[in-house]
Amino acid sequence: MIVETAVFYLFAAVMLIAGLRVITARNPVHAALFLVLAFFTASAIWLLLEAEFLAIALVLVYVGAVMVLFLFVVMMLDINLERLREGFWRNLPLALVVGAIMAAEIVAVIAERYFEVASQAPPLPAGYSNTRALGMLLYTDYAYAFEIAAVILLVAIVAAIALTLRRRKDTKYQSPAQQVRVRPAERVRLVSMPAEKDR
């Protein structure tokens, strides 16, 4: 048990440091990469909790896809770092106060329920797969919510395409099928001319 606790604190520390660096890193690309690190450690902590599906899904979706595109954009943008950082120290006190209040409230709500009971969850039965358990729940009790989430993604696709699709008039797209089907008669006009008379 103590080993798991030690590993947990290791990951937690890495995650906190990475999270802090996300907002303090001078370079936005570094910040994005620290966010990736934070995701990784979060997924490691979930693995410690034996929530392997969530852990892997986090890496797969956020690290493998979302953050890649995020980095893609961040690298392309020419961000003026100085201007971006102007408000940081000025707004820090307010942010700290709000953050502290929220943290205190969360602790206060959770404290009674979780800190006092034994923190060890009962061991899972052998052969228990939380991928299967999650699937059962998603496709039965939460099927409605799941479908709506799918519709939201559909709308996101429709919206993204509607906002960005621009038919360019100057593309030189070739259709191989059309090229193959070309007949000489359409391209070359054979004109029969009377032969010139000898002079």
Binding site: I2, V3, N27, V29, H30, L33, V36, E52, F53, I56, A57, V59, L60, V63, G64, A65, V68, L69, L71, F72, M75, M76, S129, T131
Partner: protein, 359 residues
């Protein structure tokens, strides 16, 4: 003797830390046992690539270092080891050096869940298939980070191309895996192999006709071609595209840093081949039930299948010209994703119908 070794950690570190140390050391031993053959395989895959492509192009291929050129990979390795590591001006030093590590780590880590033979797997986790997908999807960071940190136009262009390409093909690949998962009813790779040993043909002793490749043929094609694209191999190597952007993200790298990218690429090739063998060609199973074939160790079957499939990668490279970038994207989005989606529905209906072959 074995018992003495097994009890040492408890004796030396006490009951609290002992099991942890034991687990750690045992895992380390297994990892080394997987990694060393893997590195050897990578080294000789490079040699095999040059030889095979040489034969296909009616050349001889490397034959100077050692008998039949067999020591060539070692000579290459030594050369790369002693080359200077050049750091470009204004490169982001930390990220520049981190990128090769990012390339090789997921390529190695994915091997943890590969079953080499019945019961022979480092980590027999339930969500093995997802784990492999998750790790291979992080490989793209190496390319992006390398491209950005190099502070070079060509490297950056390569990084942008690869980010788009790898994310695109991951979707098709993921859908292909979903179909495999559906017919196997498990995400565990060992279970996927075992599930392929049942069926009408397997009962007749013709195991190879019961493997997934036959009923899931379109998915096999999509998966394997996506795998080629994911590893940025020819004909999808627009990321490197030496005729347009020199070598893409690797243009500024030299010495060992370059070698790590190289290693990662070949390791990923072998990984994709192994996964194809495991998911579509029955993993370690023998093709037919014959007393003679049962004498062959299970691992040898997997090895043979992986060898054939990875030779396909080389064959592709010798045969096809490079795709144009927009064609790469069109194939991924407009061909593969619809194909997998349709086949997903077909297999779903098939499984529910009275003609289901997976019961």
């Amino acid at each position: 003797m074995l018992e003495w070794i097994v009890t040492r950690p408890d004796a030396w570190f006490g009951p609290t830390w002992g099991p942890a140390v034991y687990a750690f050391v045992a895992a380390l031993v297994f990892i080394v046992a997987i990694m060393i053959p893997l590195f050897v395989a990578v080294a000789y895959l490079t040699l095999w690539e040059r030889k095979l492509i040489g034969w296909m192009q009616i050349r001889i291929g490397p034959n100077r270092v050692g008998p039949l050129g067999l020591l060539q990979p070692i000579a290459d390795g030594v050369k790369l080891l002693f080359k200077e590591l050049i750091l470009p001006t204004n490169a982001d030093k930390q990220l520049y050096l981190l990128a090769p590590v990012l390339a090789i780590t997921p390529a190695l880590a994915a091997w943890a869940v590969i079953p080499f033979a019945p019961q022979v797997v480092l980590a027999n986790i339930n969500a093995g298939l997802l784990y492999v997908m998750a790790l291979t999807s992080t490989g793209v960071y190496a390319v992006i980070v390398a491209g950005w940190a190099s502070n070079s136009k060509y490297a950056f262009l390569g990084a942008m191309r690869s980010a788009a390409q790898m994310v695109s093909y991951e979707i098709a690949m993921g859908f292909a895996l979903v179909v495999v998962l559906m017919v196997s009813g498990s995400l565990n790779l060992s279970d996927i192999v075992n599930a392929q040993a049942h069926g009408r043909f397997a009962a007749m002793g013709l195991n190879f006709l019961s493997w997934n490749w036959l009923p899931l043929a379109p998915i096999l094609v999509v998966y394997f071609v996506s795998g080629v694209a994911e590893t940025n191999r020819s004909p999808f190597d627009v990321v490197e595209g030496e005729s347009e952007i020199v070598a893409g993200h690797m243009v500024e790298y030299s010495g060992m840093a370059f070698a790590m990218f190289f290693l990662a690429e070949y390791m990923n090739m072998i990984l994709i081949s192994t996964l194809t063998a495991v998911m579509f060609f029955g993993g370690w199973q023998a093709p037919i039930d014959a007393p003679l074939l049962e004498r062959v160790p299970a691992f040898a079957w997997l090895l043979a299948k992986v060898f054939v499939i990875s030779s396909m990668f080389l064959w592709f490279r010798a045969t096809f010209p490079r795709y144009r970038y927009d064609q790469v994207m069109r194939l991924g989005w407009k061909v593969f994703i619809p194909v997998t989606l349709v086949w997903l529905a077909v297999v779903g209906i098939w499984m529910r119908s009275p003609w289901s072959i997976w019961s």
